[in-house]
């Protein structure tokens, strides 16, 4: 079974500052992927970043990077130089490579303040 837990319901950060969103997961799968998705207010869910579990190197996409701790089953998202457009709900998700099943956490609402 797959579970994803996000323990921070809401967070805020000043524009241009750095913020880290936390996520822990549990899975019985050997082959899996981890994701962070962004859902802006009243807009579609879009992919922010993904990490293959077999890779030790942390994924990076421009201002977004992850800290993947496989043994601890932890997968946090760091947003550097926060922008007003980063205001959104962020979901951590775990996906099975075998079945393609994608399970989401409860979400963290991030507010970037000017």
């Amino acid at each position: 079974a797959q579970t994803v837990t996000q323990s921070q319901p809401e967070m805020s950060v000043q524009e241009a500052e750095t913020v880290t969103l936390s996520c822990t997961y549990d899975t019985s799968e050997n082959n899996y992927y981890l994701f962070w998705y962004k859902q802006p207010p009243s807009r579609q869910m879009i992919l922010v970043i993904r990490q293959e579990a077999y890779k030790q190197q942390n994924a990076t996409e421009n201002r977004f990077s992850v800290n993947f701790q496989k043994a601890a089953k932890s997968f946090s998202l760091k947003i550097s130089d926060s922008q007003l457009g980063d205001t959104a709900m962020y979901f951590c998700a775990s996906g099975s490579s075998n079945t393609g099943k994608l399970i989401f956490g409860q979400g963290t609402t991030l507010q970037v303040k000017p």
């Binding site: 992927y33 992919l47 079945t99 099943k101 994608l102 979400g107």
Partner: protein, 116 residues
């Protein structure tokens, strides 16, 4: 490239009525997902199709919810009869292959259901 299309965007019904949502995935995408997202919560997977076969429907309330994917392309999700707790946004997503193996999921804008 056209995205995932969903309709209707909004629907208000009385409890015990029925409702149907339609999804047209990105052309060529083999896998289609329906998620239920209650306000302030994360999406919950209802059903996953691979072409026109069901891969996972373990969390679909089968006494009232049904879904089909005609000819492995578009899909319909039906609720009959609706309950108050069904008020949510119903998200459709598609992916090229077996989901996470080949790439990301692409989401539609969702269908917002209000049950009175």
């Amino acid at each position: 490239e056209a995205g995932v299309a969903q309709s209707p965007r909004y629907k208000i019904i009385e409890k015990r009525q029925s409702v149907a949502f339609w999804c047209n995935p990105i052309s060529g995408h083999a896998t289609l997902y329906w998620y239920q997202q209650i306000l302030g919560q994360g999406p919950k997977l209802l059903i996953q199709f691979q072409n026109n076969g069901v891969v996972d429907d373990s969390q679909l309330p089968k006494d009232r919810f049904s879904a089909e994917r005609l000819k492995g392309v578009d899909s319909t999700l039906k609720i009959q009869p609706a309950k108050l707790e069904d008020s949510a946004v119903y998200l459709c997503a598609s992916s090229l292959g077996q989901g996470v193996v080949t790439g990301e999921l692409f989401f539609g804008e969702g269908s917002r259901l209000t049950v009175l």
